[in-house]
Subunit: 274 residues, 2 copies
Amino acid sequence: MTDREKPIGVFDSGVGGLTVAREIMRNIPKERIVYFGDTARVPYGGKSKETILRYSRQIVRFLRSQEVKAIVIACNTASAFALEELSAENDIPVIGVVKSGAKVACATTKNNRVGVIGTRGTISSGLYTELIQEINPQIEVIGKACPLFCPLVEENWRNDDPITKEVTERYLGELREKDIDTLILGCTHYPLIRSIIGQVMGEQVTLVNPAYETACQLRALLQDLHLSNNQPLQKDEQPHRFYVSDAAESFSEFANSILPFEIRDAKKIPIEEY
Amino acid sequence: MTDREKPIGVFDSGVGGLTVAREIMRNIPKERIVYFGDTARVPYGGKSKETILRYSRQIVRFLRSQEVKAIVIACNTASAFALEELSAENDIPVIGVVKSGAKVACATTKNNRVGVIGTRGTISSGLYTELIQEINPQIEVIGKACPLFCPLVEENWRNDDPITKEVTERYLGELREKDIDTLILGCTHYPLIRSIIGQVMGEQVTLVNPAYETACQLRALLQDLHLSNNQPLQKDEQPHRFYVSDAAESFSEFANSILPFEIRDAKKIPIEEY
C-alpha cells in the first residue's frame, strides 16, 4: 500500500465523531477511514486534561498500528486538550475539530459576536473562546451549554420532533438576544439537528459546522502534502473500518442511523492495552 | 471510634447515588456517610461485568481505608454485577439498590405485572427482570429505557417543567397500556422526578423507589448487627464526607441542588491507585 492509499484515522469519545467521518466521506470520497469511538470511557467532557491526554495517546497508538496517514480528532474535548501534544509527538499530520471551527467562525463574523453551543464540559472549559480570541481578540464569544441535545439526537428525536423544537427554543432563546451573527455547532452531535437550530436562530445567523470545516481542512492538507488518494475506491471494497472500546451493538445502531451505508461489524478492542 | 460510630460507605458511578445517601440521611439520621462518586468513569451502564467488578473492588478498597462499617452500592449496574462478589470478599455487610428494589416490587405487585424504567444500559441488561424472576417466576417484568430522564434531572428541569412532562408522557405512554400495578424507578436520578412519573402513571400504579428501600434495609441490618449509631451527631460536626474521581466542582453543584446542606469540598482522589 502506498502512503496515498493509507486510511485517515478519526477518533472521538463515542458515536458523535461519525458526523465528522460522514463529512470526510462526502467531501473527500476517495479516502479510506479507520474510526475509533471510545465508547467505554465516554464522555470526555468534564474529565481532566491529564486524563484526556492519556486516553488520546492510547487511541493514537492504536490508530497508528492501523497505518493511518493522518489523524483527525473529532472530539471537541480531546481536540482542545490534546491537539498540540499529539501534533508534536507524531510524524504524521494531526488536526482537530475545535481549531477548524474557530478559524472559520473568525472569518465569518462581521459584527465580531460569535456564539458557541456545546456540552457542559466544552462550554465551561472555554476552549472555543480561547482559540477564537487567539486569532482575533476583538471577537466576543458567547457560550451556551445545551446538555440535552446529545441524548435527544441519540434518541433519534431529530428535526421534526416537537420536544426537540421546544428544548431548542428554550436553550437558544437567550442566545437570540445577544446579537450574534455566527454560531458554532460546538458538539459533534449538533449537525444532526442543524435545521432546527437554524430555524430557531433565524437567517441572520450563520451556522458553522466544525465537522464540515475539518473535512475541508483535511482535504487541503492532504493535497499540500501530496497524500491525497487518487484511486477511486473499488465498488466491492469495504473502505471504512469502525472500532470501539465497548458495546459495539449500540454503536452500530447509531452509525446506521446517520451513515449512507450499513455498518455490520464495529469491532471492540481493548484500548487500555495500547 | 467505636464500630457503631463508624461511617457507612456509599458509592455510585457518579452523582445519582446521592439520592440514596439522601434517603439514608433522612431515615437513619444518626449515621455518618462517606460517599464516593466515580465521576471519571461514569457511566457504568454498557460496560462489561469484568470492568464493573474491577472498578467496584477499587472503590471498596478506598472506602475500607476510610474505616466504614458497611457498604451500600448505590449504582444499579454495579449493584447487579458486583454485589455477590463484594459481599463474599468483605467481612462487613454490603447491600445494593437493585436487590432492595426487586424485593419490594415483588411484595407490592398484586397482578404480577411489574414495570421497570432505567437507563438504556440497565434495561437492556435485564438485571431487574432476572432478580425479580428469581424471587417469583410468575411475575412478568416490562422494561422501558428512558435515556433523557438523567440529563433532564441534571439540567434541573424537574417536576413542574413542561418539557419534562412531555418527555415523561412519551416514554411512559406505552407502559400505561401494559396493565402494570407496580413501577420500579430503576435509576438513581428518577426519584427526583417522582411526582411527575406518578402523575403520568396514575394512582393505580405504586412507584417503588429503590433508594428509599435500600435505606430501610440498611437500618434493619445495622440494628440486627448491633451496629446502629446511638449518639446524635454534633451540631458543629460535618458528619458526611464526599469523594470523586474527577471534576469535583460539577459534583458539588448537583449535590447542592438535592441535599439539605451545602457541600463545599468534594475531594478528588486517584481511584485507579486503589
